[in-house]
């Protein structure tokens, strides 16, 4: 039995979740996590008439769960209900949701022709057409694809990695594979500088978070089983930790699998770790790479899923360990993009409203970079502040002396 099913009755209706919900604040049509989560769960047992289509307005940011003093998995309850009861209407928006959530499929199709695809999706005409037909907002730039995948690049480098005495397995995720192989390459450099070698899982698929967010739970569950199987193999064969550079991928692999998808990951869950908590521990144990001074100022933005994982402190401390770096920690708040949410025409305004305070704070800062752990936060911040936004690993790689 998954946790969401029996946790709702611990809710004492304090409503703190709704106070902290970024969507409820920005969109009066969203009833908020309390009503959609624990209240709704109780009523939906009586009758499915009480399923409210407004649940699709939830961004799955999980800030409600971070806020809850009663340990209610509010966001999970909403996600589970959507997976079970959301009605799929066949229309152009369903096609859009399909495209946005099939990161694997479209990554595989697009990377060979990246320059062409990027040019097409960047064209104003195509943006207008997509806005009017399938409802991808015309203000949004779709993520750029890289030419060639990270996996392909890694094949050439794999033999070198064997020489290191310690090994980790890297769950690169779709973003590193199809959009930003440089982040994976930076990670490899950083780890190698710490005398650690990098392996990939035999195979991996999208962690499933965009599928969950778009209500395609069956497909997400298939991916989850596939990934758990591959992670189990890696653990059994090599007994390596499994690291991720995406705060959301690692959160999904660890928590959404059992809580939302009802997929048992108990045999690997303790091995999965978000990169900064692994690195900080290494640093503190004396295994920090040699870093030169980086005399820059950065603003750090905490992604929602990292906040929910309780790991923001690791990233912040890691950044503070970089010599010369001035770290300004921003208020922890949602950027509004929430993965695929903010790309949708109907959510665009709300998404911008949610992120407004963050954008203004960043614009008013004199930072050289924004730093965040999440790829979609990065897109949203860059698009709306024009400040280059990088991953903590990118920054540390900059500081490597060798």
């Amino acid at each position: 039995m998954n946790i969401a099913q029996n946790s709702f009755e611990k809710c004492i209706k304090c409503t703190i979740c709704t106070v902290y919900c970024p969507v409820a604040k920005a969109n009066p049509h969203y009833p908020g996590p309390k009503e959609c989560g624990p209240d709704g769960a109780r009523l939906r047992i009586k009758s499915l008439d009480y399923y409210d289509q407004a649940l699709k307005l939830c961004t799955n940011c999980k800030r409600c769960e971070t806020a809850c003093p009663s340990n209610v998995n509010v966001g999970d309850i909403i996600a589970v209900a959507r997976g079970k009861f959301e009605k799929k209407v066949i229309n152009p928006k369903l096609m859009r949701d399909f495209i946005l959530s099939r990161t694997d499929l479209f990554g595989t199709l697009s990377t060979p022709f990246a320059p062409v695809v990027n040019k097409i999706t960047d064209s104003q005409i195509i943006k207008t057409v997509m806005h009017k037909t399938i409802g991808i907002d015309k203000h949004k730039a779709l993520p750029k694809y890289s030419q060639g995948t990270f996996r392909n690049w890694f094949k050439k480098n794999a033999p070198d990695q064997e020489q290191y005495p310690r090994q980790i397995s890297y769950f690169h995720g779709c973003y590193v594979n199809y959009n930003d192989p440089d982040l994976g390459k930076d990670l490899l450099k950083v780890l190698n500088a710490m005398n650690i070698g990098l392996k990939l899982l035999n195979k991996e698929k999208c962690c499933g978070v965009p599928l969950i967010a778009n209500g395609f739970h069956d497909k997400a569950r298939k991916n989850a089983h596939f990934n758990v199987k591959n992670m189990t193999e890696a653990v059994e064969k090599f007994n390596t930790p499994i690291l991720s550079t995406s705060s959301t991928c690692s959160f999904t692999l660890k928590q959404e699998y059992p809580h939302v998808l009802d997929v048992d990951n108990s045999q690997v869950v303790d091995k999965i770790e978000y990169i900064t908590s692994f690195l900080l521990r290494e640093f503190m144990n004396g295994n920090a790479p040699k870093l030169k001074e980086i005399n820059k100022t950065i603003v750090y933005h905490t992604p929602c899923h990292l906040e929910r994982s309780g790991l923001a402190i690791f990233t912040i401390e890691l950044l503070r360990a970089v010599p010369g770096l001035k770290v300004i920690v921003l208020d922890s708040e949602c950027c509004g993009l929430a993965g695929t949410y903010g790309f949708k025409k109907e959510n665009y305004d709300v998404s911008m409203k949610i992120g407004k305070h963050l954008f203004e704070t960043i614009k008013n800062s004199d930072a050289d970079y924004a730093i965040t752990d999440c790829e979609t936060c990065k897109w949203q911040i860059e698009e709306n502040t024009n400040l280059k936004t990088i991953h903590p690993i990118n920054l540390i790689a900059q500081g490597l002396t060798a």
Binding site: E9, K13, Y50
Partner: protein
């Protein structure tokens, strides 16, 4: 106290429970003028303090075939005329390893002989129908049990009766009967809320006061022996079972688990109490423990489920043998005091069950109508109650607010169309049970609501997980707007309601119920200083004074 209002009617009914309100409706439909009196709100006595089980009769099939027969008849009728009060869940009679499986065939045989449909299920089939039933069951029998909302049933009876000219006086007690020789011709009454006295003159008086009927008889110097038996129940936070679950054995303690609306109920215990205790029922720790332990045998999940509150009711058992207590009836007892005691003008209808309220009303009204020379036949079994009417042409509506859906369950879709449809009307007051401002306005104006407790019985306000934590202050404010209450009066309503909720929470003050109660206390006492409202109320008699000025 100079002026005393006087009313005249054909029939005066004492008692606004299921029986009394059913008689009110029956009279009204037959064209008999009637008035109903209750010392409290409608459905505030035994009617509102039981399982709310729509018996199929199966529970009585082996031990009391007459009751079983009555139940299955009324079961079929109520499903037709009161569909908004009924949830046709079906019920299971399960045999556990500690029970005798051979009882099952006795049970099935007894059910068939009174016309109750049964279906024998394997444990696997039972678990498929009801995943939360005890998986160690040896077998189960499915019967057409269901749930019956007694509050809705009474409110609908009254609403329908009023349409035909009947009148109701709640919070009004009989102080004495007005007699003309060996005939009762009316009653002197007192409204306990306003302290106003009034008199009702009637050709016939019907005593439908349930367990309190003994007192009413005493006003007429008649003696009826009643044996009150307390039955305690627990309310669970949410609906843990889809089907009613019974034990397939002779009736015993805590062996019925009923899914009622958004919650489930486990009950009951049974304890004989002294008649002097009927107005001060307490649920003991021991009863709570028995209910949880026995209930978990029906559905093991119960043990892990949060308990919202406990309550108790009194079974109105009547001794029909003449006072020595040897022949106590659980059945319907209709006493024509003209025949029995030589006192005309008074009829008592006692005993019975929630299930048989309509039948009891029919029997009583038949007797009284004959005395009044009214020959109209009973039609209560044919005419649907308001709210029950429109189920046939129910259209699935796409964008209905959750509050409207919830309200449609409670009042029927026609009533919901009357609600204030403005943004304010649609705003939510009770979040657990989805009660809107519009529904509250409707209840206050149309359903004889005078305080928050009455409002709870009409709408489920405050019956959900938070037990009034979030809705009480919102709803009490609405009494200023729709119920001609002053600010101070509505504050008193707030305290009254919280005290009433508190009474039921006290016996189960552990785990999450404790956390919830603590939080509620923190809001109302810590934040609002609610206890001062009553203090100020007693210290100051000047009603015009604004107490909230600093």
């Amino acid at each position: 106290m100079g002026h005393i209002s006087r009313y005249e009617t054909e029939v005066l009914i004492i008692g606004g429970g299921a029986t009394g309100t059913s008689i009110m409706r029956d009279c009204a439909l037959r064209g008999i003028k009637c008035m109903l009196l209750d010392k409290n709100d409608i459905a505030s006595g035994t009617t509102g303090r039981n399982h709310g089980l729509l018996h199929s009769g199966a529970r009585y099939a082996v031990t009391d075939s007459e009751s079983a027969h009555e139940c299955i008849q009324e079961n079929k009728i109520l499903k037709k005329i009161a569909s908004h009060c009924v949830d046709k869940t079906d019920g299971l009679f399960i045999t556990l390893p500690e029970d005798d499986l051979s009882f099952q065939s006795t049970f099935i045989h007894a059910c068939s002989s009174v016309g109750i449909d049964t279906q024998k299920l394997t444990p696997e089939e039972a678990l498929k129908l009801e995943p939360n039933v005890n998986p160690s069951l040896l077998g189960a029998v499915k019967v057409p049990d269901g749930t019956l909302d007694p509050f809705r049933l009474c409110a609908s009876n009254v609403l329908d009766a009023k349409k035909y000219g009947a009148q109701i006086f709640t919070y009004s007690v009989v102080q004495s009967f007005i007699r003309a020789g060996e005939r009762i011709i009316g009653a002197s009454c007192l409204n306990v809320r306003t302290n106003e006295k009034f008199e009702i003159f009637a050709h016939e008086v019907i005593n439908a006061a349930g367990i309190w009927g003994k007192n009413i008889c005493q006003y007429a110097d008649l003696d009826v022996q009643m044996f009150p038996a307390k039955g305690s129940l627990l309310v669970l936070e949410h609906r843990i079972n889809e089907l009613v679950i019974n034990r397939c054995r002779k009736p015993a303690d805590a062996d019925i688990l009923v899914p009622g609306d958004s919650i489930s109920l486990i009950g009951t215990t049974s304890e004989e109490i002294d008649y002097s205790e009927i107005d001060s029922l307490r649920v003991t720790d021991q009863e709570v423990n028995i209910l949880i332990a026995e209930g978990a045998k029906l559905a093991p999940i119960l043990e892990k489920t949060r308990i919202l509150r406990a309550y108790a009711g009194v079974r109105p058992l009547v001794d029909v043998s003449g006072g020595n207590g040897r022949n106590i009836s659980r059945g319907i007892v209709l006493l024509d005091h003209a025949q029995r005691d030589g006192l005309t003008g008074l009829t008592s209808i006692l005993g019975g069950k929630l299930m048989t309220c309509r039948l009891m009303a029919e029997m009583t009204t038949d007797v009284v109508a004959k005395k009044l020379g009214n020959n109209s036949p009973c039609t209560t079994h044919l005419q649907p109650l308001p709210g029950s009417v429109e189920t046939a042409d129910k259209q699935p509506q796409k964008k209905t607010a959750l509050t409207s859906k919830a309200a449609a369950y409670r009042h029927g879709e026609k009533a919901v169309q009357l609600f204030d449809q403005s943004a304010k009307g649609k705003s939510i007051v009770c979040e657990c049970e989805m009660v809107s401002v519009g529904e509250i306005e409707y209840a206050i104006k149309k359903l004889d609501v005078t305080n928050l407790v009455d409002l709870r019985r009409r709408t489920r306000l405050g019956m959900g997980s938070c037990q009034g934590e979030l809705c009480t202050y919102r709803a009490s404010g609405l009494f200023c707007e729709y119920g001609q209450c002053s600010g101070h009066d509505s504050s008193k309503l707030l305290i009254h309601f919280l005290e009433e909720r508190w009474k039921g929470i006290k016996p189960v003050l552990f785990d999450d119920a404790l956390r919830e109660a603590e939080f509620t206390y923190w809001i109302y006492e810590g934040l609002f200083g609610a206890a001062d409202v009553t203090l100020l109320g007693t210290a100051q008699n000047d009603e015009k004074k604004e107490y909230y000025e600093i």
